[in-house]
Amino acid sequence: MLEIDNSKYIDTTELKLFGEVEIENGNTRIKGRNHWVGTGLETLAAFIGTGSGTGVSNPINNWYILLGTNTTTATSVTMSALVNPIPIQPNFKLTAGNYYSGSTNAVTVKYTAVWFPGTVSGTIGEIGLYLTLNGGVYPAGNPGMVSRLSAADTSFTAFTVNMSNALNVVWYINLVYV
């Protein structure tokens, strides 16, 4: 996981949100930086700018990480789903979060997904984080892709799933001062 040290200089005029994804499948270890899509921007804004009711669902009411095979289509702001998703949700999911106060001020939220051995196969070229969306142009309560990691963005190198091993994806979202 990324080490954050902003203790020497903190510019508090702006917050920055970024994500990193770790993939583990047998001997394959990959780490890359995600790309946010418009729905990710929107769902975060809906939380900040709205109050209660149907416009305010919560991101992990229904969430999952999906794998996909596409290796050629770069992520764009308007993208709302993986290009070639493998329609198999993880066998195991977990979320956790930490707030680091004091000299190092940052928030790290972690989404973990595990597919047991033999559950998925083929080439992995894209991975998407799907959270429950908030209001705006999307109905509350429907999970949608907020961020994507893709080989086409050169965020990682596509690989073939080793079906003898579990496939683990850990998606870190960090909120820090600029």
């Binding site: 508090t12 005029t13 702006e14 917050l15 920055k16 949100l17 970024f18 001997n27 394959t28 270890r29 990959i30 780490k31 890359g32 930086r33 995600n34 790309h35 946010w36 418009g38 729905t39 921007l41 929107e42 975060l44 804004a45 809906a46 939380f47 900040i48 700018g49 709205t50 109050g51 209660s52 009711g53 416009g55 305010v56 919560n58 991101p59 992990i60 009411n61 992520t75 702001v77 308007t78 979320t95 979060g97 707030y99 106060s101 001020n105 940052a106 928030v107 939220v109 209001g135 705006g136 142009v137 963005d153 965020s155 990682f156 190198t157 690989f159 979202i173 909120l175 001062y177 600029v178």
Partner: protein, 185 residues
């Protein structure tokens, strides 16, 4: 074992959250950038892992307060205005409103606005700081939340050099417009 593969950052890697504040009082207009405090940081981060909460929007309960301090800079540990005008957390505005321009299929960024107005004669003295108070989710544990309280999320202050303090013209209304933009960076 393969080596870790981290490519350089590019557009879409980051979401930046920026705030600008406009203070209008008669002929006087001040504009400056806000400073986020730790409570604001934690609040937004907490949202990312909550569920089952029907009133967890940060603007479910919110307010803007003003204060007179001109010498204390904002830190990440700042939790309230230093010298609020009126009884802490401050004299509430007479009217408030919000608006938002959300993402559509072809446009970014997202712009959120909170507006607070004090009628003429409601507040007086030196205006050296203002604070945006949002509903506060303080528990960053899996799925936990606690609502119904507001806390300072962001502050603008003369001490930070964000604007020049001024004496409130009590013959005119005072309006604070707090605009937050979420942008790709």
């Amino acid at each position: 074992m393969e080596e870790y593969n981290i490519e350089k950052a590019s557009v879409g890697d980051f979401i930046g959250i920026r705030g600008t504040v406009k203070i209008e009082n008669g002929e006087h207009i001040a504009i400056g950038r806000n400073h986020w405090v730790g409570q604001g940081l934690e609040n937004i981060g907490s949202y990312l892992i909550i569920f089952g909460c029907g009133q967890c929007g940060a603007s479910n309960t919110w307010n803007i307060y003003i204060g007179s301090d001109t010498s204390t800079t904002t830190t990440v540990g700042t939790t309230s205005l230093v010298s609020p005008i009126g009884t802490a957390p401050g004299t509430p505005p007479n009217s408030t409103s919000t608006s938002g321009i959300y993402y559509s299929s072809s446009t970014t960024p997202v712009v959120l606005t909170w507006i607070a107005t004090w009628n003429a004669g409601t507040v007086s003295g030196t205006l050296g700081e203002a604070g945006l108070y949002l509903q506060y989710i303080s528990a960053l544990t899996n799925g936990a939340y606690a609502t119904s309280t507001t806390a300072l999320a962001s502050r603008i202050s003369a001490a930070d050099g964000s604007f020049t303090s001024f004496t409130i013209n009590t013959a005119a209304a005072l309006t604070v417009t707090w605009t937050v933009s979420l942008v790709y960076a």
